[in-house]
């Protein structure tokens, strides 16, 4: 996959030195300070905890010794790696072709498929798992029942969701949105000269896609593979629901056991996360080896806007394929959830007498906590995502343009939080922010900071993969015309990133809205969020309420996405790059 070099590495690496060091120094200083506050400090507490004994509180290496010596603790690590690798393969295997279909072809209903993929993203994994339990539990799953009805009573159960395959499937389909969003925004930004060249030289659509388009999107594909892998490592809900009944332990369910013990082994849990850091570190190292020598710049001074590929006779078969993901990740499980939420008592099954909107009434009006929780969820997600994307983009810019010595270290720091499972990170945030001088306990700021920090790696990875596609020529032109670095970034780079940033914002906003574990020790009665309430209802076995609140959470998020669509359209990538290109005097 030898790819295209539009300029030498050194030229990208060293932009003209700053003429206003003060502004630059202030911004760099602020970014470093924020990273220290949001990431280094809480993670430092996790590290500090991992080196202490749970019973005595004394310094010790014993936690690490237990992790490497006990077979009981190694088995979950191996299972987690299998789950994560399989999840990432599914996510990329489905997400990348789907992104290509939606971004580059005349596939019918492209917009709907984009929205439906986002819908899959909105679903908290434990809700998705619940939906699939209703569908594919061996004895009672509706799909299995339907199969027995078709094939005869003795036909057995073709599907068993309580298995490693089941967990991989559910983790995979709910992780596809990561790869889909990241790769589709890379494809949206990408210029088409090289594709045109391939077509001119007689390449078919498929060959062009495989040998030009996808390799050009490699930074996004690889970043999304790594994120999906991490997602597979750190998800709790799916393995807790689907793997506990089969007796397959993974790291996150083992962590939950540490917290459930008396006394809880919180410090051991901290040490138990460190192998995850090593594995993820190795992935990033491999990425660097792979991407490091190549260039992926496609937006440059000569850019033209994108072009649609006509699928012709393949349009409808392609639509069928593109609808598979929404079917398994949205239509089927939400149909199950919706049916349960509409019954007064779901054990009675479907009948007219049992149909009721009671649980929706209860969720909206009958429960005083829901109102606060909905407002809190929305406010924290909006502010958290904004802070997160601003910081992540700045860090990505500093790293990609190597604006300071040790810039790649900043990138490494910005990547750490997502690797630490939420329940452990929550303890780190607690220690970091509740003490003086911060004293943030009980304030919204605590949750906003924790959410922004947790999902910083997504914003950073996404920002980085967009920036890799934007050549420095336009920035240099601005600089040579006298603009400072800050002005160049604001007037040239940021607009070029435009649509990608909006999709990046959703890529952070949505996980925050559905996040559960990070908040577990940080919420207080006044700062409660929607997912805690849903989990409490699940904890109390109130499935009708769980399903009704999940459907509501989905509707609210979709509504927001719908409101934000015109905004995304305004800053849409093509239009911006076309405008920029026109402004730069290039006919489009």
């Amino acid at each position: 996959m030898g790819v295209i070099s539009t300029s030498s590495r050194d030229a990208v690496a060293r932009p003209v030195m700053a003429r206003v060091p003060l502004v630059k120094a202030t911004i760099l200083g602020a970014v470093v300070l924020l990273l220290v506050l949001l990431v280094v400090q809480p993670f430092g507490w996790v590290l500090f905890n991992s080196l202490h004994d749970d019973a005595t509180g004394a310094w010790t290496l014993n936690n690490y010794a237990r992790v490497v010596q006990s077979a009981d603790l190694i088995e979950p690590l191996v299972n987690s790696l299998v789950l994560a690798a399989a999840t990432a393969l599914i996510a990329v295997g489905i997400g990348v072709p789907l992104a290509w279909l939606v971004s580059r072809t005349d596939l019918p209903f492209r917009r709907s498929i984009r929205v439906l993929t986002l819908t899959a993203f909105v679903t908290p994994s434990f809700i998705g798992a619940t939906g699939w339990i209703l569908l594919a539990a061996p004895n009672s799953g509706w799909l299995n029942t339907a199969w027995r009805w078709l094939a005869g009573e003795g036909a057995g159960a073709p599907l068993n969701i309580y298995s490693m395959a089941g967990a991989v499937f559910v983790c995979g389909i709910y992780t596809v949105p990561y790869s889909f969003t990241m790769v589709s925004s890379a494809l949206d930004e990408m210029a088409v000269e090289l594709e045109d060249a391939a077509t001119t030289l007689g390449c078919g659509v498929l060959r062009t896609m495989v040998s030009i388009t996808i390799p050009l999107a490699a930074p996004a594909v690889i970043a999304s593979f790594i994120l999906s892998f991490i997602q597979g490592l750190t998800l709790f809900g799916v393995p807790a629901f689907l793997l506990t009944p089969t007796g397959i332990p993974v790291v996150t369910t083992k962590l939950a056991e540490f917290y459930q013990l008396f006394p809880p082994e919180i410090y051991l849990a901290a040490a138990y996360c460190m192998p995850l850091l090593l594995v993820t570190g190795a992935l990033f190292w491999m990425r660097r080896r792979y991407l490091g020598r190549k260039q992926y710049v496609t937006i440059s001074g000569k850019t033209r806007a994108g072009r649609q590929i006509h699928l012709g006779a393949w349009r409808w078969p392609a639509l069928f394929l593109a609808l598979l993901l929404p079917t398994v990740a949205v239509f089927l499980p939400y149909a199950a959830l919706l049916l349960v939420s509409l019954t007064r008592a779901w054990g009675l099954g479907l009948s007219w007498e049992n149909l009721s909107l009671y649980w929706y009434w209860w969720a909206i009006f009958g429960n005083s906590e829901t109102h606060t929780a909905i407002v809190n969820s929305l406010v924290y997600s909006t502010l958290g995502a904004t802070l997160c994307v601003a910081l992540g983009t700045l860090v990505a810019y500093i790293v990609e343009r190597r604006m300071m010595p040790g810039a790649s270290l900043l990138g490494a720091v910005a990547t750490v939080p997502i690797i630490i499972p939420g329940i452990v990170l929550s303890v780190g945030f607690f220690a970091a922010y509740t003490r003086a001088p911060f004293n943030l306990y009980g304030t919204p700021l605590l949750l906003i900071a924790a959410f922004a920090a947790t999902f910083l790696p997504i914003a950073y990875a996404h920002g980085g993969s967009i920036l890799k596609g934007i050549g420095p020529e336009l920035e240099r032109a601005a600089r040579s015309l006298g603009a400072g670095e800050a002005r160049t970034f604001l007037a040239v780079t940021l607009p070029l990133m435009g649509g990608g940033l909006v999709s990046g914002w959703f890529l952070v906003f949505i996980p925050i809205i559905r996040e559960l574990s990070v908040a577990v020790f940080l919420i207080t009665p006044k700062t409660n969020v929607m997912t805690t309430l849903i989990y409490n209802a699940k904890d109390g076995g109130n499935y009708e309420a769980v399903c009704a609140m999940s459907v509501l959470l989905l509707l609210i998020t979709l509504l927001l996405v719908a409101i934000a669509r015109p905004l995304a359209g305004l800053t849409g990538a093509r239009r911006t790059s076309r405008k920029t290109a026109t402004a730069a005097g290039v006919p489009s």
Partner: protein
């Protein structure tokens, strides 16, 4: 309303106004306020003006009902309820203690060990709630220093699907019969305190051989024992072991096809406890709430939600009572070790 002084309130006009505001009928509100007003503890609690509850006992719905009843009876105290799983609540309190934060006024969790540990480090305050006199005799005076008290009575039994089971198993031993092979659902002792209590009790009664034979029945093991109800309602399994008594009855009352079978070889009884942290920011409000737990109002709420009541003079739902059933409670000083051993044996023998 918190701005109005007590003296001002005592004036008739203020009283009637407050009674009207409190949402009750003026007459009953007046009477209620008049008696509450005489209580010096209420006066002190009103001065504090707020109360924060950290509770894991009882599910959200029951806990909210208790909170609302308290607010109705004692207006002028703003109540914050944090309802999370017992172990989460405890871990959070420990984090607060380590980091020098004091938010919690009343702790309510399902594990006695939380309280013996907190007492050991001097983190609990003593209080003798006068209304606890009406508790069943077996649960009075749990701690000789009055640092913690019963907050909830939780029973673990068998549950089943009436339409799909001709005759439900009537004892833990009966669950080992061939007919229940592949039909049982249960929770995991590693995730559920109730199931852990069940494992400890069953090992005391029948030894590890029971666990071995139970494992041969191929039970479906979920996380919480609430999952037994889910599995039965969904039709995934027909009989639940180590199942939640009160919650099953709630679901039955909601119209779901499920019922309990109280085992003849003892329902397992687990106590939820409650205590007031030594550094509670609103200690008087905390005392007022602790005493309120043993009021008729709360026991009525518990009865309505199919929980065992905390007063001998308030009957349980469906006319049940503790005297009608055989029950067993794990006691002893080394429960923590026994739980750990039970979980290890479970992993070895059941899965």
């Amino acid at each position: 309303m918190t701005d109005i002084s007590r003296r001002g309130l005592l004036k008739t006009g203020g009283l009637v106004g407050t009674a009207l505001l409190s949402g009750g009928l003026a007459g009953t509100g007046f009477a209620r306020l008049a008696t509450a007003q005489d209580d010096p503890l209420y006066a002190a609690a009103r001065k504090e003006g707020a109360l924060t509850l950290y509770w894991g006992s009882y599910e959200q719905q029951t806990m909210e009902a208790i909170r609302d009843a308290f607010k109705a009876k004692y207006p002028g105290i703003e109540v914050q309820l944090l309802r999370q799983a017992s172990q989460t609540v405890y871990t959070r309190l420990r984090l607060e203690l380590q980091n020098g934060v004091a938010e919690c006024d009343s702790l309510g969790t399902t594990n006695l060990l939380h309280y013996t540990e907190l007492k050991k480090i001097g983190a609990l305050a003593a209080y003798e709630p006068p209304d606890a006199a009406m508790l069943p005799a077996a649960f009075k005076g749990l701690d000789k220093d009055a640092m913690y008290h019963v907050g909830a009575i939780s029973l673990t039994s068998i549950n089943y699907a009436p339409g799909k089971v001709a005759a439900p198993p009537t004892s833990w031993m009966a669950l080992l019969e061939d007919q229940w092979k592949g039909k049982i659902t249960t929770g995991s002792p590693a995730f559920s305190g109730d199931v852990a209590s069940w494992v400890v009790a069953i090992r005391r009664k029948y030894g590890d051989d029971y666990l071995r034979r139970f494992g041969q029945q191929k039970p479906k093991v979920g996380q919480s024992n609430v999952d037994t109800v889910t599995d039965i309602l969904a039709g995934e399994r027909v009989v639940g072991s180590g199942a939640p008594f009160s919650y099953t009855l709630t679901q039955k009352a909601a119209g779901n096809p499920i019922d309990v079978s109280v085992p003849t070889d003892d329902a397992i009884l687990n106590l939820g406890l409650t205590g007031i942290p030594a550094k509670a920011p609103h200690p008087n409000a905390a005392r007022l709430f602790t005493n309120f737990l043993y009021s008729k109002e709360v026991s009525d709420i518990l009865s309505r939600n199919f929980w065992p009541t905390l007063r001998t003079d308030v009957a349980w739902a469906e006319g049940r009572s503790l005297d009608q059933m055989k029950w067993f409670r794990n006691t002893g000083d080394d429960l923590a070790a026994e739980v750990a051993e039970g979980i290890a044996k479970w992993k070895e023998l059941v899965r």
